[in-house]
Structures are given as structure tokens and as C-alpha cells.
């Protein structure tokens, strides 16, 4: 029994049956070496790497200023190091609990841990020679001993690998992220902190400039830090460095003012300066094209706005083209976008409320609304959702869209993303809310209904009969995209009787030589069309459109000649493609293109019944959806009180007296019932209330 038990144990521990020592493949030579040798080699390799990193950590002889800084910092902290090494256990407790220890303590801790680590490493090296190192096995101590005795090497599970296992680093990082320490009065400490936070020794674009500022006949050490490329260096020179270094000598009545006040009031003639009490505030400013100004003996720092990065200028919109109306589009800069909206609306009630999104990126986002029109609950809801987002980096409004939307799996967008300031301005004036994301030329508008997605910005600038006609065309295009291929398939497969005899004969004769069933031909052509479209988008520059046209023409012609598809099918696919191009909203277009395939399969399964089944489910999901609390099919399902003057059809602008009722705006009326003062009303009363003589 004992033998059986030990045999089973061996199997469970992956021990070879013959008890031979397992072999490892030496990576460098390709030869097989024993376990002991390989571990020795690894440990030696590791120690050499450590030496190398230690050398790297040392300052290069060429960088004199850095060397000086470091030596001074070492001097500053030498005493603290001593004290910290004396009371090791108490400091460990502090670091583990994540209390609000000062930045100096943190620095000393990190140094201490480095020393400890180097001491421990010598011990570890000796252990490694004997067997498998702890890092490699990644198992508990007892297990390690057991394996060492048996000379077993297990494959290293990825979760235990060295890359992910460095828990000390994670812990340190966690403590580091969680802390928001107050600014030290010592300028040297501040300098060290900033250098450490920005890894100034390896970050090439992070610049620090030390200088002296004279206040009340005393020279104070000071430094500024900023990112080269993100900031405008001429502003830094003219508005910060020159005044601080030269104007401080000028006589100023400073008897009753403190040093902080003198610097803030007299020495930094920059229009946007904030007084920061914590490092994090300065860091946030510097990360977003600002400058941090630290002065010795002050427990605060100054963060100035000196943005000066390269960005795209305001250009023509590329995705929402129009013939009538303004031709400006948003760009990637948050403030430019908000300025474009202000320029369009010219309303002091327009609020641009800043929210930072992204735990690491702290991307500036702005909630934009008109305070005496937009519903407070809606604004609160947008603010609540935006502030609740915990994401590391936010780069684009597309990402924010998927984080904010009510239903992730709904086959339709629940927000409107537009690059046109005039369109956003029009929605804001109705009582909606916009969200600008820094770095994205698309602004989010919420809440929306399905009907907003078929509107084009041009609708407002055209005379009402034309825009109504265009909307009808777009709805027709939407229907065609969704249903035409499926209906063709359903009719040719299930409902032949529906087709008039002449047409039926034409279809039948064109399909006579085609060997495939309709579904195969249809899918073949639809997929080819999608391929051409995708390739057309991805291929750079002018080749794209050429390829699309040539590809489509040649492919279609060749497919018909080769009797793979019938000519009628080519027409169906082409018209479907055209219909999809008529959908004004990019995201809705994608949704319908994808759903088209669902309808094709349903039509193949059950003909028109299948299509109706699809419509029923599609409608159910759409009517159940909400965009920030507003039902997606409002004002039709549910029916809202207001008149439907700008949904499927669009009435003249003078007839649109009310804002959409479902938005519940603070001010429902946007213009009087007689908005054209010169016109007589139908009841024979003039706009000013006088009775018309021509009744």
C-alpha cells in the first residue's frame, strides 16, 4: 500500500518514475545541463544584471547638475536614513498601512528597502546555488524545501513568474498612488520629490530650471519644472522666469505682505496661476502643459498654465459634410472646442463644467449645458456618471461613450457623436447636454432619440420641404439597408407568388445559370461589398476611393460573367450599399449593416415571417432602450405631450415654438407663437396684439 501511495504521490508531483534528475535546456548553448548548473548560471547572470542596474542608477559623470542635486539630496536625507534604519519595524508598519507619511519618509523608505534588498540578495545568491531560487519556483517555503530535496523542477506557472510577482513594487506603487502629500517647505525636498515622481534622470522632456528669487532683500532658492514640447517656452521665459529673476530686485512696497503673497501678486505676471498645497495638484498641472513653481520656505507651490503643444487647427468637418451651413469642426483640444460652442451660442448661461476622467490620464472632460434650459436632473445624472468612471486612461469620446451608455448590448447607439459645433449648439439650445473629451474631435450629445440619428445638420439650414424630403429619403435608405436583401431572399425562396409574372420570369431567367442558392450568392456579394468598403477606408489617400469603385465594378461584372450571381442580385447589393451610405449617423450605419445579416438569416429561415420576427424583437429592444433616462422611441413610443414637429418630418422653423417635451427643459418655450413679428396671425390679430384691418 505504501508503494502505491508513494507512486501516486510521485505522479501528482510530476516526479519521473525512474527518479532521474530532470534536465533543463540551456538557452545560450542549446545543450542540456543539470539543474544545479543551470540554476548557478542563472543566479550569476542575475547578479551581473543587478550590478548593471546599480551602475545605471549612478549618475553619469557628464550630468553635473544632476550629480550635484543627488549629492545634496543624499546629504539632506542621510540623517533621516539613519533614523529610519534604527526604527525599521515602525516604518514598515507605516508603509503598509498607507498612512499620510511625508514624501521625505517615502524617499528614505525606498532607499532603505534598496539597501535591505542588496543585503538580502547576497544571501539569496548562496541559496540559489544550492537549488531553485524562490523567484523561479514561486512556491511557498515549505514546498520549496520539499522540491529542493527531491530535486524536482516544476514548470513555472505564469501567475507566479517574476514579472507579475514583484509584489513589493506593486505595494510601493499603490502607496505612492494613494498619497497626496503636502508640499514641503524645503525647496530641495520638493526638487527631489518632483525628480522622483517624474523620473527626471531618464525623462528627456522633463525640464527643471533652478534659480534664485529675491524677496524682501533675501534670496530664496526656487525652481520651475515643465515638459518641453507641451509648454510654450517663450511664455515661460517672458511671464515667469524673467519677472521672477529680474523684477524681484525692483522696489515694491512689500512691508505687510508675506513672501507667498509678494510672489503671487507681483512676481508672476501670468494670467492663470493656481496656488497648490499638494504635489499632486502641481503634477496634474504639469502633466497638462503647465509649469510648477517651487520657492524655498514656502509650503505651497504655484502651477501656471503655459500650454503650448502642437495641435490641429479648426478645419472642415470630414464625416458630416454639408452644402449649407457653417463649415467648422471640433479638434482635439478641449478648450478650442468649448470656445467654438461659446462662439456659436454667445450665451452667458452656457456652462462648461470641467471633470477629470481617468485615474492615470486625468483627461479633462467638460460637461456643457445651458443652465437655465437644461433639466437639472439630467445634468446631475451626466455629472454622476462621468465622475463615477474609474478607468486608467481615457483617450477618446468613443471610449467614454461605451462607458456612459445605458445598454451595452443594444443594437443602436444611445449617444450622438458629432464633430460639428453648430449641431451641438442646436442640441444645447433644446436642453440637451454635451460632453467634450480632450483629445477627441467628436463631442457627445445626450440624451438622444432614434430620430436624432437620422437627422442631418443640414436639415436646419434648408427650407422645410426640402429637409422633410431629405429625411424621407434617409428613412427609405435605412429601410433598404436593413430589409432589401432579406426581402429579396424571402421572396425568391418562400413567396414566389408575390412577384408579378413578368418580373418572376426575368428573375428566374437571370438565375437560371447560377448554381448556388440565393442565400450563398447574397452572402458572397454582401461580404465582398463589406470587404471593399473596409479596404477602401483602410487604404491610404486617393487609392481608397479608386479601389472601391474599380473593385466593385470589376467584381460585380466578373461575378455575373462567371455565373456566380445573378445580375438582379448585384442591383440589390448595390442599392443596399447606397442606402447604407445615406444613413447620416456613422454608428447607426454600423449597427444596421450588422443587423442586415441577421435579417438575411431570418429571411432564409422563415421568409417574411422571419423578417417580421426580427422586426418585432428589434422594436422591442429599441422601445425598451433609454438614453440617459429618455426612451429611445419618444415622442412616438411612449407618446409625449409635445407636438412632433421635428422628428420624422420637419415643419418650418417658425412653427417649432416648443423645445422637446421629453427633455423636460426648464424653459419649454423657445419662441413665441408668432415668431415672425411682421406676419399677421390667422385670427386677424397682428403679432403685437393689434387687430388687423384686412380681416
Amino acid at each position: 500500500m505504501k508503494n502505491i501511495a508513494s507512486y501516486l504521490k510521485n505522479i501528482l508531483l510530476f516526479k519521473p518514475a525512474n527518479n532521474k534528475k530532470p534536465f533543463m535546456l540551456d538557452e545560450s548553448s542549446g545543450k542540456q545541463t543539470s539543474n544545479k548548473e543551470s540554476s548557478e548560471e542563472k543566479s550569476s547572470h542575475k547578479s551581473s544584471e543587478e550590478e548593471k542596474t546599480q551602475q545605471d542608477d549612478k549618475p553619469s559623470p557628464g550630468d553635473k547638475s544632476q550629480e550635484d542635486d543627488k549629492s545634496s539630496s543624499v546629504n539632506n536625507f542621510s540623517e533621516e536614513d539613519k533614523s529610519s534604519s534604527e526604527d525599521k519595524s515602525s516604518e514598515e508598519e507605516q508603509s503598509s498601512s498607507g498612512d499620510k507619511s511625508s514624501e521625505e519618509d517615502k524617499l528614505s523608505e525606498s532607499k532603505l528597502s534598496k539597501n535591505q534588498a542588496s543585503n538580502e540578495k547576497t544571501d539569496e545568491n548562496s541559496e540559489d546555488v544550492e537549488g531553485v531560487s524562490e523567484n523561479y519556483t514561486g512556491s511557498k517555503k515549505s514546498d520549496r524545501k520539499k522540491y529542493r530535496k527531491k530535486g524536482i523542477i516544476r514548470p513555472i506557472p505564469i501567475k507566479d513568474s517574476e514579472i507579475l510577482k514583484n509584489k513589493d513594487d506593486r505595494k510601493a506603487q499603490k502607496n505612492y498612488d494613494g498619497q497626496d502629500t503636502r508640499i514641503s517647505k524645503s525647496m530641495r525636498t520638493c526638487l527631489e520629490v518632483m525628480k522622483q515622481r517624474y523620473s527626471a534622470d531618464i525623462n528627456g522632456d522633463f525640464k527643471i530650471r533652478e534659480f534664485k528669487v529675491q524677496v524682501k532683500d533675501k534670496a530664496y532658492d526656487a525652481f520651475v519644472c515643465f515638459f518641453d514640447g507641451l509648454t510654450n517656452t517663450s511664455i515661460i521665459n517672458s511671464s515667469i522666469l524673467v519677472p521672477m529673476m529680474t523684477m524681484s530686485i525692483m522696489p515694491i512696497d512689500t512691508e505687510e505682505q508675506s513672501v507667498k503673497e509678494i510672489i503671487y501678486n507681483h512676481l508672476i505676471p501670468q494670467n492663470q496661476i493656481t496656488i497648490c498645497k499638494t504635489y499632486q495638484e502641481v503634477v496634474d498641472g504639469v502633466n497638462f502643459g503647465g509649469i510648477g513653481i517651487f520657492v524655498d520656505t514656502l509650503d505651497v507651490a504655484f502651477a501656471g498654465d503655459v500650454k503650448g503643444w502642437e495641435h490641429r487647427s479648426v478645419e472642415k468637418p470630414e464625416t458630416e459634410l454639408n452644402i449649407r451651413g457653417p463649415r467648422e469642426s471640433f479638434n482635439e483640444t478641449c478648450r478650442v472646442n468649448s470656445a467654438l460652442l461659446r462662439k456659436t451660442l454667445k450665451d452667458e448661461n452656457l456652462i462648461v463644467e470641467d471633470v477629470l476622467v481617468g485615474v492615470r490620464s486625468k483627461t479633462p472632460c467638460s460637461i456643457v449645458y445651458i443652465k437655465n434650459i437644461a433639466n437639472k436632473k439630467l445634468v446631475d445624472e451626466v455629472r454622476k456618471r462621468l465622475k463615477s468612471i474609474k478607468i486608467a486612461y481615457l483617450r477618446d469620446s468613443g471610449e467614454l461613450e461605451s462607458l456612459l451608455e445605458d445598454d451595452t448590448f443594444l443594437p443602436a447607439p444611445q449617444m450622438l457623436l458629432t464633430e460639428r459645433p453648430d449641431r451641438v449648439a442646436s442640441y444645447l439650445s433644446e436642453g440637451r447636454v454635451a460632453i467634450i473629451v480632450h483629445g477627441s474631435p467628436f463631442v457627445i450629445v445626450v440624451p438622444i432619440t432614434l430620430f436624432n440619428l437620422i437627422h442631418s445638420p443640414e436639415d436646419d439650414y434648408l427650407r422645410f420641404p426640402y429637409s422633410t424630403l431629405l429625411r424621407m429619403v434617409r428613412i427609405f435608405g435605412t429601410m433598404i439597408t436593413l430589409f432589401l436583401p432579406a426581402t429579396y431572399l424571402a421572396i425568391t425562396t418562400y413567396h414566389h407568388e408575390m412577384v408579378p409574372t413578368d418580373l418572376l420570369l426575368a428573375i428566374a431567367s437571370s438565375r437560371e445559370k447560377v448554381p448556388f442558392p440565393t442565400i450563398i450568392s447574397l452572402l458572397m456579394m454582401e461580404i465582398s461589398f463589406e470587404l471593399i468598403r473596409e479596404a477602401g477606408v483602410r487604404i491610404p489617400g486617393p487609392i481608397g476611393s479608386t479601389l472601391s469603385i474599380v473593385g466593385a465594378l470589376i467584381l460585380g461584372q466578373a461575378a455575373v460573367s462567371a455565373n456566380l450571381v445573378s445580375p438582379i442580385l448585384i442591383i440589390i447589393v448595390a442599392v443596399t450599399g447606397l442606402g447604407s451610405f445615406a444613413i447620416p449617423d456613422f454608428s447607426l450605419g454600423y449597427s444596421l449593416r450588422a443587423l442586415r445579416f441577421c435579417y438575411i438569416f431570418l429571411a432564409y429561415f422563415a421568409g417574411l415571417i422571419g423578417i417580421t420576427f426580427g422586426i418585432f424583437l428589434h422594436l422591442l429592444f429599441l422601445v425598451d432602450a433609454k438614453s440617459f433616462g429618455v426612451p429611445f422611441f419618444v415622442p412616438f413610443a411612449p407618446r409625449s405631450k409635445g407636438r412632433r414637429k421635428n422628428t420624422v418630418i420637419r415643419l418650418p422653423i417658425w412653427a417649432q415654438e416648443y423645445r422637446p417635451d421629453f427633455l423636460n427643459p426648464k424653459d419649454i418655450k423657445q419662441q413665441p407663437s408668432i415668431s415672425r413679428g411682421w406676419v399677421k396671425s390667422e385670427k386677424g390679430v397682428k403679432a403685437d396684439g393689434r387687430e388687423s384691418k384686412n380681416r
Binding site: 407568388e497 422563415a606 417574411l608 415571417i609 422594436l619 425598451d624 411612449p638
Partner: protein, 367 residues
Amino acid sequence: MEEKAKIGNFEAFCLLLNMVCAKIVLDYPRTVSEDVGSAAWIMIILDTIVVFVFFAIISPLYEKFLGKDLIDISEIALKKVGKIIIGIIFIVQFLYMTHITLREFAEDIKVISLTATPISVVIILFCIAMIVGAYLGIEAICRVYALSVPILTGALTLILMLNSPKFDISRIAPWFGLGVETILKKGLTNLSQFSEIVVLLLIAPFLNNKKAFKGIGRLGILLSGFFLAMATTCYLLIYQFPTSTEFFLPMYQMARIISFGRFFTRIEPAFILIWVLTAFLYLSSSLYFITYIFQRTFDLKYRRPLIVPFIIILFTLSILPENLYSTLQIDMQIYSRFSWIIAILLPLILVIIASVRSRKNKEAGNK
């Protein structure tokens, strides 16, 4: 737990209209013409009046219980045990009604289009739609009603109007069909065709404007009666009794004979949309009501877990009849005869008892 649904007046009206009139696209015009011959339209008008009077009696009594549904009222009237019994009766009623309609619609679809498909597959297709509808709840279903009922009504009217060249007034003679006595006798059992108005007492707490209950009911009954009468009359104007008893799907038959110029000679598949959409709406709301009544009867916290068990029961029940004929027999011989007692008479009795009891309780409280 679901949030409490909110239903607008128009949506509630559409729900009522579709629930009552769904049978037009089934075999209703044929069955009534079988019952009373060419005087079917008179019987429908009489039935509408009777149901309207019933509702006129119920609605002022119900106004005391605004915000309460039929199950609450039955609890007030007959205490908790009574509520459970009444709840079970209504569940059975809805199960009976739904499984027959499910089978009939599936058979119709099989006849119209999916001739080679097994009936179980067609039923499963309906069941999926029912599950989704019942899962999303009455609010979503009612919104689809609000969107589709105007289209369905328009399409139905179009079918009737496109047939107008074939109308012949002499075909509805003799005016009293199989006799006045038959009209009155059959009219009583045919009150069952309005059984679905009971849903109004179930959705009453969901109404945005609870006082609109009376208006929705009145308009719903009148318009339902109008459409039922119009469809039957148009059918009889084209197919005289007894020919009218021969067609399995009267409305489909009417759609088939439409010829609109040289090009559109067979457009009936286009009307499949009406058939199937009506069926989906009717069946999914029925399944919703089954689960809702069950939840309310037994005071359950969740409704959605009941959907799958009930759909399995419905599927099983609907494939039990051997063929379409036996389904129709079940419908005509049992359901049509007795359904009105549960759907119309029982709520009236319950509301009367509840109002008497609540008055007594009030008086006792005052003393």
C-alpha cells in the same frame, strides 16, 4: 425585481384594441357567420352594446379602487384565499386562451407560408418572441403596440377598402340571418369574443393617468366592436352565407382576391406582416399577463423566472390538439361558450362584492 411599468393612455388603448381584434385575422368572421348567418354584424353590434353597458357598470364601481388591479380587488372581496382561487381561475383562463391562439396562429402561418415546416418549429418561433416580449415587460410591449397598431389598423382597412369593388349589399340578406332568436342566443355566448377586455383591469395600476381608465375602456370597446363588425360585414359583402363558412382564413382570403392593376395581382404575402405582428403582440402580452397574475396571486418578488415554465406549459398545451380542426373545436365549443363568464361576469361580481365590503369596512371604521 422589475421597476413598476408606466403605460400611456394611447398605449393602453392600442393594447386593448389589438387584444380584442386579433381574432379578426384568425377565423372570427367565419365563426360568427356560422353562428348567425348573414346577420353576424347585428350580433356584433349588440354584443358591443352589452359589453359597453357592463363596462359602464364596472367603471364607476372600480373608481373607488383606482391604482388597484383585479387581483387586489379579489383580495378585498374574498380575502387571501379568494384571491388565490380567483388568480388561479384567471391563470387557467389565460393559459387556455393563449394556447389555443398560439396553435391557431401557428397553423395559419403554416398554411399561408411555411407549408413544409413542422408545426412545432413554427410554435417555437412564436414562443421565442413571446419570451422576449414577456421578459422585457408590459411597458416595452405597449410601446410596440403604440407603434404598430396604427400600421396594423391601416393595413386592415386597406385590405377591406381594396376589396370594395367586389362588395354587394344583397349578399347580407336576409337581414336577420338565422333568426332573431339565434342572434340573441348566440350573441350571449359570443360575448366571449370580448374576453380580452379583462386586461384593462390588470393594467389599470400601470396607467400614467389612472382616471383615464374609463375613457380608454369605453373607446377601446367601441372601436373594437367597430372593427369586428366592419371586418365581418365586409367579408359577408363579398362571400354570402353559407359560402362564408367555407374559408379557413377569411381575411387572408380577402387579401388574396385583391388585384390592383396589372402589376400587383398577388399581394397577400405583404400582409403576412399584419398576421405575424398581431400574433406576436397578442401572444407576448398574454404570456406577460399569465406571469403577472401568477406573481400577484402568490405575492412573488420576481416575475421573470416564471416565463420559462409557463412557456413550456403553453408549448406543450398547444401541440396537444391533433390538428387544426380539433383546435378550432376546442375554441368554438368550450372557450367561446364559457369564457365570458370568467372574463366579463366574474370581474363585475368581484367589483360589486369588493365595493360592498369596503363600504361596510368604512362604516364599521366610522362607528
